[in-house]
Amino acid sequence: MRPRRWGTEASRAAATEQVLYDVDRGTGIATITLNRPEKHNALSVPMRDRIVDLIAEVDEDDDVRAVVFRGKGRSFCSGNEINEEWGQRRPHERRRTLAVGYRYGADMAWGRLGFSQAVSRCAKVTVAQVHGYCAAAAYFMIACKVDLVLAAEDARIGALEARFLGPAGAVASVHINRILGMKAARRTGYTAQPMSGLEAQRLGLVYACAPAAELATLTEAVVRRVAMRSPAEVDHLVARLRAAEALMNTSVPSITGLLVSHFLQPGQDEADFWRTAKEVGVGGALDADKALRGAADPRSRGVTNVEGTS
């Protein structure tokens, strides 16, 4: 028997092109490129499954010393695809069952076999190259899980989905609190305000920033420097970091947003958001939301002023 692969036949087939993989054997750098620009690289279930498979491949490949996550198009990634049919609801069911909800849980929170922990437990140095939106799951399942984040100065990073789903797991997740500090973690979760790349650097999430046009060059320079270290030394170092992260309990994130969206009735804002997201992706829905009175970034109403936003 083989494990069930979730998703439709079409979405499973598409995932191969939506998540591209490349290894430069000369430098020892692998690249995982999200290639779904029309949806701001929102991650479908088959895309996440493919990334889990690719990380296993990275772990097994002695030539690879570091793996870079990046996205094509306007954004790095706007989070999980929330409008797909991946087999979660049977026709007679009005709601998703807890058993299939566990499939989300396995990916997002507690599952050692899921996506989030595949990223955080990767045996090689992990790097995210972040531009445009880095929202929701992309924020707390990739950017906050990798070892190094390089960001465009004007990137918009954070739990933007909390605007619709309620305070995000960012508030409670140990790793985000350890990365940003508790007050900043709470702000991202309770307000849904994004951080610019520069602000994320000041708070400690981002290692280095560059203008968007220079981000790829910066990333390459940093990753090459890491990959030039002795492979045995890098292996040893990564093993040390993973062990220490386990001691700190930073490998298990907490997530509320998707679970709330799956088990509670949505409010009007949320319904509007999902309708738009179905048409233009989560990133597009975030853009549309900004244009709505009362649904914009609170800072635009003068609540506060954070660099990188108006």
């Binding site: 140095v125 070892d147 190094l148 990365i179 400690g204 270290r229 040893h236 062990a243 930073t250």
Partner: protein, 233 residues
């Protein structure tokens, strides 16, 4: 190793702390004993660690000692619960490090284990995690925040004094000329605290550190030593 004491501040002066990076067990044990003895002295509230040489802890020139990992002597002196670093980290009194110039390997560990650090503007902090199995990454993550500590380790890029201050590794940065006075002033300010308050605070801090994994990370040092040995072939 010279020790002077006045006004609740005991200053431990050595030419430099580099011998710790080549696992000089005699030097380490003398330092450990000195700090423990001072912490037991009711007239002392703050222990100030000072290097009188140009650098706080550069990479050592001499050969690595027989007490290197994973020897039993290393386990006791450097990695053990009663060894140097845990004696500093869990000391009953506050420890202050005064850092100028190069601060790598064991020097960085002294900074991580100490309560407060004052640095000269020429100080340069190198990550200890690739080389020293007894170094404690959890302490770094708690001190600097997780991703900064990871970047420090993974990139192996030393942190200058200003960046170290921004990252939270250092409390104050001053000119080299002003360093001894600035560190001494900080120590004197701390020594103005009531004795019982000082001891109670450091005791409570121990529980917090342990709850966050610092002690368990220390306990993994022999495991990390095996990994490091594999690196060295």
């Amino acid at each position: 190793m010279e020790v002077s004491s006045a006004g609740g501040v005991a200053t431990v002066s050595v030419p430099g702390f580099a011998p710790l990076s080549r696992f000089d067990a005699d030097f380490a044990w003398e330092l450990r004993d000195t700090v423990v003895a001072l912490a037991d002295d009711d007239l002392v509230k703050v222990v100030l660690l000072r290097a009188t040489g140009a650098d706080f802890a550069p990479w050592p020139d001499g050969p690595v000692s027989a007490a290197s990992p994973p020897s039993p002597r290393w386990r006791r002196v450097f990695a053990g619960a009663n060894g140097l670093y845990q004696s500093l980290c869990f000391a009953k009194k506050a420890v202050v490090t005064e850092v100028a110039g190069s601060c790598v390997g064991a020097g960085a560990m002294l900074v991580l284990c100490s309560h407060l650090t004052v640095a000269a503007d020429d100080a340069l902090f190198g990550s200890p995690f690739a080389v020293l199995p007894e170094s404690n990454f959890v302490l770094a993550a708690l001190t600097m925040r997780l991703n900064r500590a990871k970047a420090w380790a993974v990139t192996d890029e030393p942190l200058g004094a200003v960046r170290a201050e921004e990252a939270g590794l250092v409390n104050d940065v001053v000119s080299r000329a002003a360093l001894p006075e600035a560190a001494a002033r900080l120590a004197v300010d701390m020594a103005a605290m009531p004795l019982d308050g000082m001891v109670m605070t450091t005791m409570l801090r121990q529980a917090v550190l342990d709850a966050h994994g610092v002690g368990r990370e220390f306990d993994l040092a022999p495991h990390y030593a095996s990994g490091r040995r594999a690196v060295e072939g």
